[in-house]
């Protein structure tokens, strides 16, 4: 009896509302008519971070806010704005956090220098090895 009651209660339970009941914005899940513009928008969306999920790009996220951000990107691309200008507009508001494309600034110098330093270190190690073998 108790089990039946629990099952009934579970069947009747509604999920807590933490999402908007408004339908998604027009361009949240609809591609732009012009495939070249859509390609530009898609490339940009893949390098913008979803603000409420943070580990996903807005292209990958199902969050309402990510949908609104996709709509913003598509509308601005359709209006002729360049992807980098849209990125800059968002970075002005949220900091480099919002972009998956790290800027070149003092904080990220080590990041950009790392490949060159590693290659140099590798060359130096390899040079030592080859020298020893020749002997």
């Amino acid at each position: 009896m108790r089990r039946v009651l629990i099952l009934l209660a579970l069947a009747a339970a509604a999920p807590a509302l933490a999402q908007s009941s408004l339908p998604p914005a027009r361009y949240a899940n609809t591609q732009l008519e012009d495939p070249r513009q859509e390609a530009k928008a898609k490339a940009l969306m893949e390098t913008l971070r979803c603000l409420v999920c943070q580990g996903q790009s807005i292209a990958d996220s199902d969050a309402d806010m990510a949908g609104d951000m996709r709509a913003l990107v598509r509308e601005r691309i359709a209006a002729g704005e360049s992807p980098e200008a849209i990125r800059a507009w968002l970075v002005d508001r949220y900091g480099s956090w919002v972009s998956y494309k790290p800027p070149v600034e003092p904080l990220t110098w080590p990041l950009w220098a790392a490949p060159f330093l590693l290659i140099a270190a590798g060359a130096w190690v390899a040079r030592g090895r080859f020298r020893r073998r020749r002997r």
């Binding site: 609104d68 709509a71 508001r93 900091g95």
Partner: protein
């Protein structure tokens, strides 16, 4: 010398990981609640231009020009579907009682839902603008609901409170309003 070189990769990795850890720690601050918060870069900058339609017939619409009327105001970014917004409602009502003017931006919301929300949890708002596609939220650099901005009399954004306003946050908000005077 060779011994040292053997240890070198480990030392480099340890320094790198330590540095990264330190960076994460400093970025998150000491307060665990501050983690994962993305602060707006708009503090100290003028309120972006916008004009929102009224969310409800009982309230006037909200535009940026309403936020430079000579006295500091609060702009509360909220939604009827947002659970923490209910938790902060008593604090907003208390601020209103103290004479703080508060305007609302309703994110992705329907008129009837906002009306029901205000009827249940109290209505601290002068004006409420409807932001159905989160456009104003993005322009503000706000990354969720609820968030509250202190705007001074000239329309400059002075302070951002992320998350619900708890009773212990009220003095900070009052101080920010006083500083914006």
């Amino acid at each position: 010398m060779r011994r040292l070189i053997l240890w070198l990769p480990l030392i480099v990795a340890a320094v790198g990981l330590g540095g990264f850890g330190l960076y994460l720690w400093s970025a998150s601050g000491t307060d665990p609640e501050l983690r994962n918060q993305i602060r707006s870069q708009m503090i100290g900058k003028p309120m972006p231009e916008f004009a929102l339609e009224a969310s409800l017939p009982s309230h006037r619409p909200l535009s940026a020009s309403n936020l430079r009327k000579g006295a500091p105001r609060l702009v509360n970014v909220f939604a009827s579907w947002c659970i923490p917004c209910r938790a902060e409602a008593p604090q907003l009502m208390a601020l209103k009682q103290r004479g703080v003017p508060i305007d609302g931006v309703a994110i992705r919301d329907r008129s009837e839902d906002v009306a029901a929300f205000l009827a249940e949890w109290g209505d601290p708002f002068d004006r409420i603008g409807a932001d159905p596609n989160s456009k104003v939220q993005f322009a503000l650099g706000s990354s969720g609901v609820p968030e509250t901005f202190v705007v001074d009399g000239k329309g400059i954004i002075r302070h951002q409170h992320i998350g619900d306003i708890r009773p212990e946050d009220v003095p900070t908000i009052m101080a920010a309003l006083e500083a914006a005077r």
